[in-house]
Structures are given as structure tokens and as C-alpha cells.
């Protein structure tokens, strides 16, 4: 009887360990911050890149049905790749406003970048030391966050916007 109890305990323990191991293998270990979808944007204040007296805050987001917050920099190659989608989004649709947040960049380089590729942004804010990016849960650029006028995160795009992401955003805001 004692042996049976011991065997049952060892057998259950092995089964349990194997189940945990099997479940662990099935879990997707690629980290992303998509868990932020559905959460509210915390309070922020952004200063315009060329005018230190011009600011926007959460109130700006409440005025628009949808706002896409895009983190970019002139030194970021994938930002160049996604830029045409941002331009297309801003020209095609009036339901969405686009805020650009210039991440750890020089003002002159950012302005040249926008002059060269076009400016899709309704407001360009500066994040010289990157601290603002942390309050938005950003860990690399480019990253974009689609929020509605209730300040809820609808979609997070980690990496450059591609055709699929662009179509998704269009579908959401239609």
C-alpha cells in the first residue's frame, strides 16, 4: 500500500512536470507590448519640434475620432520604409490625425527628413531623451499606437507599418 502511494506520487509528479514542460513549449516567447491594447493612454505633454511654446496633451486626442501616434527618427531606416504609408493615411482619410514623436534625434535632421519625404503629421513632438517613449511603452522604433477619442489603445504596430498593417488601420477607422 505504501509502495503504491509512493508510486502514485512520483507518477503524478512526472506527469505534472511533463505537462508544464509541454505547455511551456506551446507558449509564444516572442515579447511584444500588444498587451497594451485596450488600456488607456496615460497623461502626457508633447512639445512641438520647432516651437517650444506649442504643446499638446491628452486633450488633443479627445478631439479626434482616431489618432495614430508614430515614433520616428531620421536615423531610423525602417522609418523611411513606412513613411509612404503614413503619407497615404494622412491624405486619404480625414477621420484620423497623425502625431509624430521624434525620438532621440537632432531637430535639423528631423526637419530635413520631413522635408525630403514629406510631412504626414498633424503635430510633430520632440522626445530628445526618450523619456516620453517609456510612458507610451515603446522599446524600439518605429512603433505606432492607434488610439480613439476615449484614449483607449486600439492597435499597436511594432516595427514599420507595412501594407497589411496599413489596410488594418484603414479598416478600423472606416
Amino acid at each position: 500500500m505504501k509502495i503504491n502511494i509512493l508510486k502514485i506520487i512520483i507518477f503524478s509528479f512526472v506527469i505534472f512536470s511533463l505537462s508544464v514542460f509541454w505547455l511551456g513549449l506551446k507558449i509564444d516567447n516572442n515579447y511584444d507590448t500588444k498587451s497594451l491594447i485596450g488600456s488607456k493612454i496615460s497623461n502626457f505633454q508633447l512639445t512641438e519640434i520647432n516651437n517650444n511654446n506649442q504643446h499638446i496633451s491628452n486633450e488633443y486626442l479627445k478631439k479626434n475620432k482616431y489618432t495614430l501616434i508614430n515614433f520616428f527618427a531620421s536615423w531610423c531606416a525602417p522609418c523611411r520604409a513606412e513613411h509612404r504609408y503614413l503619407l497615404s493615411l494622412s491624405s486619404k482619410n480625414k477621420k484620423i490625425k497623425i502625431i509624430g514623436i521624434n525620438f532621440k534625434d537632432k531637430k535639423i535632421n528631423a526637419n530635413n527628413f520631413l522635408k525630403e519625404l514629406g510631412n504626414p503629421y498633424d503635430f510633430v513632438g520632440q522626445d530628445t531623451d526618450g523619456k516620453i517613449s517609456i510612458s507610451f511603452g515603446i522599446y524600439g522604433i518605429p512603433e505606432s499606437i492607434l488610439v480613439n477619442n476615449e484614449l483607449t489603445v486600439i492597435k499597436k504596430i511594432i516595427g514599420p507599418i507595412d501594407q497589411t498593417q496599413f489596410d488594418d488601420v484603414l479598416k478600423i477607422i472606416q
Partner: protein
């Protein structure tokens, strides 16, 4: 006057560096518990990445504002999820993770106890 002067000298020589060391130790402790999300298995303390540098700035700011270690962790968890801290917080979701070591310890102990008792009874017989 002389006493005051001696006190100020003592304060600036010993107490001020002591306080700043305390602050540095606390910051280092926080950095060590934060995972660098863009590095391979490094903490914020070990990493020189852009992301780690920015997180360090934010942590320094929050500690200067008077926030506690737990408040800093709560803020970063709300932005990056539980994955950013090496030591997870106690919640329903990770209850198993916290209980498991104690469970294994008790079950392991029970198994060893039963094995020893069994071998003793065999020897006695």
C-alpha cells in the same frame, strides 16, 4: 560657532556621501531587477543599449520625485507587462510560480521520507 562649523564639515564629509551611496545602491537594485527588453538575457544594469539608458533616466526621475521601488515597478509593468521585472509580483496569474518551489520541496521531502521508511522496514524485516 566652532561646533556648528565642525558639524557642517562632518555632515558634508560623511553624511552627504553616505546618502548618495544609499541612493545609488537603491537605483542599482532596481536596475538589476529590470529586464532589458532589447538585449539577450541582460538586465538594465548590465546593458548599454539605448533602451536601458532611457529606462535608467526614467527610474532616476521617479526616485528623485520620491516614488518607492514598488511604485517604479508598477509603472513599468503597466507599460511593458510583467516581463520587464525579473522578480514577478504576486498575483493570481503567477500563483503557481510562487507556490511551486514550496510544493516541490514538500513533495520531494515526502518522497525521500517514504523511501527511507520503506528501506528501514525492509531492513528490519
Amino acid at each position: 560657532m566652532k561646533k556648528k562649523f565642525i558639524f557642517f564639515i562632518f555632515y558634508f564629509l560623511f553624511l552627504v556621501p553616505l546618502n548618495s551611496n544609499d541612493n545609488k545602491t537603491e537605483l542599482l537594485e532596481i536596475y538589476k531587477n529590470l529586464r532589458c527588453l532589447v538585449c539577450q538575457g541582460q538586465s538594465i544594469a548590465d546593458s548599454n543599449s539605448d533602451f536601458a539608458a532611457t529606462v535608467k533616466l526614467v527610474v532616476q526621475d521617479q526616485i528623485k520625485e520620491g516614488k518607492t521601488k514598488d511604485e517604479v515597478y508598477t509603472f513599468l509593468i503597466s507599460k511593458y507587462g510583467e516581463w520587464i521585472v525579473y522578480q514577478p509580483t504576486f498575483s493570481k496569474g503567477n500563483l503557481l510560480l510562487w507556490i511551486m518551489p514550496y510544493f516541490i520541496f514538500i513533495v520531494g521531502g515526502l518522497i525521500i521520507f517514504l523511501i527511507i521508511r520503506k528501506s528501514k522496514s525492509i531492513k528490519a524485516n
